[in-house]
Structure formats: C-alpha cells, structure tokens
C-alpha cells in the first residue's frame, strides 16, 4: 500500500540526515506527525475509493450545489494559502491581508460572468470551451502551454511549503528536504495514491477549515476571547519599521499594489482545475449555488486567516523558541502557522497540524499534476499531435511522463524559491492565469467578433508577456537569479499584460477577414443561445470532422 511506502520513507529520514550539532529532533512531534499522516491518508484513500466518479467525465449523476461548493473550496484553498497568508501577515502585517481579500474576490467574478454560462455550454476545460466555436488545434496548444506554466508555479509553491515543513520537523538541510518530500509526493501521485475526486476535495476542505478554526479558536481563547485585544497586541508586537496595521510591507508602490491586486482577482477565472469543477453539477442552477457556497466557505477560511496571522505575530513573533538568532523562523518564513500550532498546543498540535497541512499539500499536488498531465496528454498529445487518434496506451504513458517531468521541474523551482512566501508564488501563478485565461474566456463567451486567430494571438501575447515580465521582476530576476536590479520594477505584470492581451485579441479579430473568421462570428448566435439557456445541441460539424 502506498501509505506503507510513504511512512517507511519518513522513518528512514529522521536519523539519517539530521545536521550534526543542530537543534535536537522533536521526537514526540514527529511521532504525532507520522501517526496523523497515516490516519488522514487512510481516511482520504477510503473516501477516494468510495467516490463514484473516478475519471468519468460525462453522465455523472450530479453532485449537489452544497457539496460541490465545499469541493470547490477544498480545491481552491490550498495549504499554501493557509501557510503563506499567515506568514505574510506575520512578516508584513497589513499587506498580507490583501492576499485573503484578493483571492476571494475572484469567485463572485466567476459567478457573475462565467459559472452558468460554462455549465450551460457543457464544456469544462479551458481548451474545450474555447474550441467550441473556434479551431481546436491552435487553441488546445495554447491552452496546454498556459496550463502547464500555471500548474508549474502553483506546484512549486506547494513544494516549498512541504520542503520547509520537513526542514522544521526533521532538521534536514533545505535542498535535501525538498528532494525528499518532492520525490515522495510525486511517487505517491504516480502510483495513483490520491485521485482528485469530489469526495477527496470535500475532505480536504473540511480538514483545512477544521485546522484553521481550531487555531483561531485557541488563539482567541488564549487572549480571553477578544478579537480587538488581538489586533491591539499585534500592533504592539510587530517589528519596528513596519506597522502591523499600515500598508507598505511588500507592495511598495501604487502600480504594484493595483497590478498585484488585479492578478489575485482575475486569476481565478483562468485556473485550469477550477473550470473542471462545474462538470460535477447537473445544471446551471446548481452551478450557481455551488459557487455561492464555495465563496462562503472560502470567505470564512480567509477571515480565519486574519486571526491566525495576527495570532502568529503575537504568539510566535521572533521568539528564540521559534526562530534563530537572525530572526528567521526555524524551517523557513512560511512556517509561521506551524510554530503557532506548537505555541498553542505543544507537540501534539504541532504534529497533527503539520500532518493536516502535509496531507492537504499532497492532495493539491495530486490534483495539479492531474490537470497538467491531462493538459499535455489529452489536449496536446491526443488532439493536437495525434489529431484525435492517439495510440491506445500512449496517452497514459504521456500522462505519466508529464507527471514525472512536472514533478522534477517543480522540485527544482521549489529549491530556487526557498525564500519566497508561498502565497506570493501562487500569486505569480495567478498573474499568468489572469493574463491568458481571463481575456480569452471572456472574449470567447461574450464577444461575437472574436475569432480563432484573435483568441490565440491574444492568449499568446498574454502568456508570453506575463512569463517574461514575471521573470524580469524582482522576485525572480533579483531574488533568485541574483542580478542587482529588476528589469521590470513592479510586483505583478497584470496591469499591463491583461490590457495587452485584450488589445491584441481585439486587433487581430477585427482585422481577420478570412472566410473562417466569418464562420466563427456567424457561429456566435448559436453559442449564445446555448450559454444563455442551456437548451439544445448545436450541430457541431467540426467535431464530426474529428478535430
């Protein structure tokens, strides 16, 4: 059983590679950690086996809005959010809250613009939606590429979190921890240990919400139940020079603030695994309900992170129990919430909380690699390269190969991103998703004049400019690659790349005078009726031709 493999790996780790002369291993905490991981993994695996859908894509009897809402929430809030946001608040005070607010606002936007329309259309991956009206081959190539890039950043954020967790628990040097945990995670996914079914996402949501609520409750209990007392003490404790309550922590100029904020809001619509969630509900009505519920759960979670973040400032701070002389937290900057668990509940809570975090990271890694692997195997290999006729087992092997390569790339990036806040890395992923997914999706669904060329051109411009500018920004150019000054001075490229993508999309579409383009514009009314009402099956001549 995969769990056995996994635990053997864990137990092998502890004595073998501990740095000599460092802080002694916290055996009780490790014990609680391993035990909790075993329990949680067993429960999740059991749930996964019970879920009926597996890899079914059509004909699923339909999950209720409530349940799917919880699943969406579970899919969306990663342990990276919990660790990253609380660490950002711990380190920067107020600016950390922007993550929470920004990540949440993407969901109402998805509801008002896309949820019903996508469910009515009946297509659930970015590539499928856009190729409804447009030529599939170039669109799928674009979709696969952008999915891969977004997934890669998102994955590396999870890897950094897991790596720092292992550094904290097992006293390994960071690179070793990263290799080990990354290897374990990918191996677990490859042997099929955690299918990303609705049931698993629901379990994940409950686990995360439960952990966050527990921490928040304990914090307030420690401070005699007063929220305001918490804020007052946080204000008092935060390191001099950065007020706990005033902006300016890491977003230092107006353009960065707005650009970064927009990335958080617009990125949600462009996330590959988000759209897939709409597959699960039977109709538009339940699709709406599920997004409303999801927004509620996610919002509740983020309100809890406010408390956790400030709790970390007050109860963890930079005390020597949790940090080294330089003021850095043991394990890494992202470990604020884990130290908080230790502060609130000793070794027991530390081990259990670390386990909950770890298992949710595992589930996220499984889901993300699935999206990435299916983008390459299904969208790219089967439809583009093989023109719809792949050799029988080849698709599976491409999928496995992609998972392995993605894993290796993510581990590599995880090592590079060691000192970054993981919510920030996710925000980078959001920036790329916002630059491709949002413009192309909006134009495809809502604008008659959009054509294949326009969508692909706009999407490519969005993707390339977002990636280039992200690499050229401080986070990578200076902090990772070591140059002195960033080429792109702002925290996020979205303020520039999204208008650029829309602009190019519009320009190429209106100047597109081919016969094909006219056909595509003429197909808009049929698509519109379909997305507005969900009625009927439009004759899809192109699909009959095998595109």
């Amino acid at each position: 059983m995969p769990i056995v493999v996994f635990c053997l790996g864990l137990l092998w780790v502890s004595p073998a590679w501990a740095e000599p002369g460092s802080v002694p291993l916290n055996i009780p905490a490790i014990g609680w950690f391993v035990a909790s991981v075993v329990v949680l993994l067993s429960v999740m695996t059991h749930i996964a086996r019970q879920s009926r859908e597996g890899q079914q894509w059509a004909g699923a009897p339909g999950v209720s809005g409530f349940r799917n809402g919880l699943a969406i929430a579970g899919d969306y809030i990663t342990a990276a959010s919990m660790l990253g946001i609380s660490a950002a608040v711990h380190g920067y005070g107020f600016d950390g809250l922007v993550y929470a607010v920004g990540f949440l606002t993407g969901w109402p936007l998805v509801l008002f613009l896309f949820a019903e329309r996508l469910r009515n259309l009946g297509r659930y991956s970015f590539a499928d939606v856009v190729s409804y009206r447009f030529s599939a081959v170039p669109v799928r190539a674009l979709a696969a590429t952008s999915t891969l890039v977004v997934v890669l950043f998102y994955l590396s954020a999870q890897m950094v979190g897991a790596g720092q967790l292992f550094v904290l628990l097992f006293n390994l040097p960071y690179a070793h921890a990263q290799l080990l945990v990354g290897g374990l995670l990918i191996l677990y996914v490859l042997i099929g240990g955690m299918p990303a079914t609705t049931g698993v996402q629901v379990a994940k949501a409950i686990l995360l919400l439960g952990s966050a609520s527990t921490l928040a409750f304990l914090i307030l209990e420690r401070l005699d139940g007063s929220l305001l007392a918490l804020f007052a003490r946080a204000e008092h404790y935060l390191a001099a020079g950065v007020g706990a309550m005033s902006p300016g922590g890491f977003l230092t100029d107006p353009v960065s603030v707005v650009s970064f904020g927009l990335a958080l809001m617009l990125g949600t619509a462009g996330l590959p695994h988000v759209l897939m969630r709409f597959l699960m509900v039977p109709d538009a009505k339940e699709a709406r309900r599920s997004v409303a519920w999801a927004t509620g759960w996610i919002g509740m979670f983020y309100l809890l992170t406010f408390i956790i973040g400030f709790g970390a400032i007050v109860l963890v701070g930079h005390r020597l129990v949790f940090a080294n002389e330089g003021g850095e937290l043991l394990g890494g900057g992202n470990m604020a919430a884990v130290h908080l668990a230790a502060a609130l509940g000793g070794d027991v809570l530390l081990g259990v909380f670390a386990a909950a975090t770890f298992v949710t990271i595992l589930a996220v890694v499984a889901g993300l690699t699935l999206s990435g692997a299916s983008a390459v195997a299904h969208d790219f290999y089967a439809r583009v390269i093989c023109r719809g006729k792949p050799k029988p087992r080849a698709e599976l092997w491409v999928s496995r190969g992609t998972t392995l390569l993605l894993g290796i790339a993510a581990i590599f990036l995880g090592v590079l991103f060691e000192h970054h806040n993981i919510a920030f890395i996710v925000a980078l992923a959001f920036g790329i998703a916002a630059s491709v997914g949002f413009p192309v999706l909006s134009a495809t669904l809502l604008w008659r004049g959009c054509t294949t060329r326009g969508a692909v051109a706009g999407g490519c411009v969005g993707l390339v400019s977002a990636v280039v500018l992200t690499i050229a920004s401080r986070a990578i150019w200076v902090d990772v690659l070591g140059f002195a000054e960033p080429l792109f001075p702002y925290a996020s490229p979205v303020l520039f790349t999204v208008p650029a993508a829309f602009g190019v999309l519009w320009l190429v579409s209106v100047t597109d005078r081919t016969a094909r383009a006219k056909e595509e514009c003429a197909a808009f009314p049929a698509q519109e009726v379909r997305i507005e009402t969900g009625l009927g099956v439009v004759a899809r001549r192109r699909e009959a031709k095998g595109e």
């Binding site: 107020f94 600016d95 809250l97 922007v98 929470a100 607010v101 920004g102 949440l104 606002t105 969901w107 109402p108 936007l109 509801l111 008002f112 613009l113 019903e116 929220l227 305001l228 007392a229 804020f231 007052a232 007020g243 309550m245 005033s246 902006p247 300016g248 977003l251 100029d253 107006p254 353009v255 603030v257 707005v258 904020g261 927009l262 809001m265 538009a284 009505k285 709406r288 309900r289 997004v291 409303a292 927004t295 509620g296 919002g299 509740m300 983020y302 309100l303 406010f306 009314p525 049929a526 519109e528 009726v529 507005e532 009402t533 969900g534 009625l535 009927g536 099956v537 439009v538 004759a539």
Partner: protein, 100 residues
C-alpha cells in the same frame, strides 16, 4: 438545433429579457465589487495613513475595510443566486416551452 430554431429563440422577447437581465444584474454586482476592491487597493497605494487610522474599539480602518469586502464578496453571490434561481430559470423554461 436548427438554425431556424435558434433564430426564433433569439427573436423571442423573453430571450432578450433573460439576456439583458442577466448581463445587467451581473454587471451591477461586478461593478460594486470592483469599486470596493479597487478602493482598497488605491487607498493602499495612495493613502496608507488613512488605512492605518485606529478605530475607537480597536483595530484600524484598513482592517475594517478588508473585513467588509470579504463579507461583501460572500453576500453578493447569495443575492445573485436568489434572483437567478427565481427569475432566470423561469424565463428559460418559458422560452423552451414557447418556442417550438
């Protein structure tokens, strides 16, 4: 669905109403949310001192605004779902029935 059927659906007055209502309502809610969120972002950018002001009970203006936007983001979908479930589904059913 034939082209003819599609045209007849689009010509139906209830279709126009459905489309218009959905877009207009959605646009209004998006506008509200974006204005609130941009307000926060622009305040952070240009008036950080305003956000740092302490409130009488404890906490700051900025904290209150963040909390309010989160509550707004949770509340707006509830309004939307209520209205949509009542009106849009009814209109869609009517259109399906009346256009044959």
């Amino acid at each position: 669905m034939s082209e003819d059927l599609i045209e007849r659906m689009r010509a139906h007055p209830k279709y126009a109403r459905l489309r218009h209502r959905r877009s207009a309502f959605g646009a209004r809610l998006i506008f509200l949310l974006v204005v609130a969120y941009l307000g926060l972002l622009l305040s952070m950018a240009f008036a950080p001192a305003f956000l740092a002001n302490s409130l009488p009970g404890g906490g700051t203006v900025g904290l209150l605004i963040c909390g309010s936007i989160i509550l707004l983001a949770i509340a707006l979908p509830v309004f939307y779902v209520r209205r949509a479930n009542r009106e849009y589904d009814r209109l869609t059913r009517d259109i399906a029935r009346e256009v044959r």
